[in-house]
Symmetry: C2
Subunit: 216 residues, 2 copies
DNA sequence: CTCCTGAACCGAACGTCGTTAGGTAGTTGC
DNA sequence: GCAACTACCTAACGACGTTCGGTTCAGGAG
């Protein structure tokens, strides 16, 4: 078959189909051949649009992370900024749990991520945190979000969940268990975030030079 | 070549060689053929000792996690228990950073993990936390450890690190940068852990029925 | 001492993977 | 209308995890 009159593929169509396959069957199940079949095309044709599989996955990654919201850092309320960022970050990852492992272990050095990191850093400094703390707080929050997104969804029911099950023997139906696991995940994340922010609140007054962001 | 007089392979030798390869070249670079070559053997021979590659990786995982310490939960000081667990957990992962992605995204349902989860849960309840909070605190701490182990080492220099670089332009040599990145990672983890525990401390008195662990 | 069962290796192969080369026909610009 | 480009194809390469069947050694049974 030669070149068709109207293009069968587009980068958007490819990305959408790939992400749908990943959502349905998992990251490991995605192959260029299966993806091509899903699109009614041969595998080699995909390489007219994406240079490698990795390039495709990277672009899916930025698409997912596009929904992360850092507008909360516009004001001077650092707690609101961090909370909004962390929640939207986690929500973006939770929307495509099977893709999280790629985001978590990939190199991920897009300029968009840099820009976000800058906004967070700026917001924290504007709120009076010393630069070093701004850096660490940003990193810590990221730990929490990624850890929460990874351990909950990527694993399905993991060892910890099994413990919950032992303690709730009357819940026998699978979808209820899943729902309960989701709820525990969400509650755990919220608890961690709140406790972390509360701890920072308590730490703040003990810091010296607040409001005068020095170097190092 | 037939069966040798003295066995060339053993599960321990295979595991050690595999982990060495992973540490050196990364998880993705490990293949059964390369591993066999490293051991002076054909790939098929490995299957006399491990049924699949996944079984091998799983056993490497339990070996790594064997160093996690939960003895701190023996007493009634829940902070000491959590801190000891979290630090040893992170240290165990940091010892083999290239393996962390597998642990983070794998199913990982070994009985050892269950036992650890139980000890943590028991320790927290003995310290007076309601069961539901014990569950959430355990999960939250795990988020932190896994997130910290993943985002720092698995990625080498990620986007955030680039920000640090911009702010420390006088550090030009690579090994100094790596050392600084490690230090920031450690400090961030410690900050997150401390702030989280402080936040829990603050939350604790506001909870009702402390010391009388009820159900749900 | 022999026989047998099982274990530990090998060579060769199967099917799948990401990717590339080379071909062909439609589209676009001069 | 011709060239350059584009978007598809078929076919293949090398690497992967794994399996099959074969060969040789080890250890226990008679």
């Amino acid at each position: 078959m030669p070149r068709p009159r109207t293009p069968l593929l587009s980068r958007d169509r490819i990305r959408a189909a790939a992400l749908a396959l990943i959502d349905k069957d998992g990251l490991a199940e995605l192959s260029m051949r299966k993806l091509a079949q899903e699109l009614g095309v041969q595998a080699a044709s995909l390489y007219s649009h994406y240079k490698t599989k990795e390039a495709l996955l990277d672009e899916i990654g930025v698409q997912i992370l596009d929904k992360v919201d850092v507008t909360g850092f516009a004001g001077s309320d650092w707690r609101a900024g961090l909370t909004g960022w962390a929640r939207s970050y986690r929500a973006a990852l939770a929307a495509h749990p099977n893709f999280v492992p790629y985001l978590a272990s990939g190199p991920g050095r897009h300029p968009a991520a840099l820009e976000i990191a800058d906004k967070i850093h700026g917001g924290l400094i504007r709120a009076g945190w010393p630069p070093r703390y701004a850096t660490m707080i940003g990193a810590s929050t990221k730990y929490l979000v990624l850890g929460a997104a990874l351990t909950s969804f990527a694993r399905g029911f993991d060892a910890d969940t099994q413990v919950y099950l032992d303690r709730y023997p009357n819940l026998g139906q699978a979808h209820l268990l899943q729902q309960m696991a989701d709820e525990i995940d969400t509650d755990s994340f919220e608890l961690a975030l709140t406790a972390f922010l509360d701890g920072l609140d308590r730490l703040r007054p003990t810091l010296g030079h607040l409001g005068q962001p020095g170097h190092e």
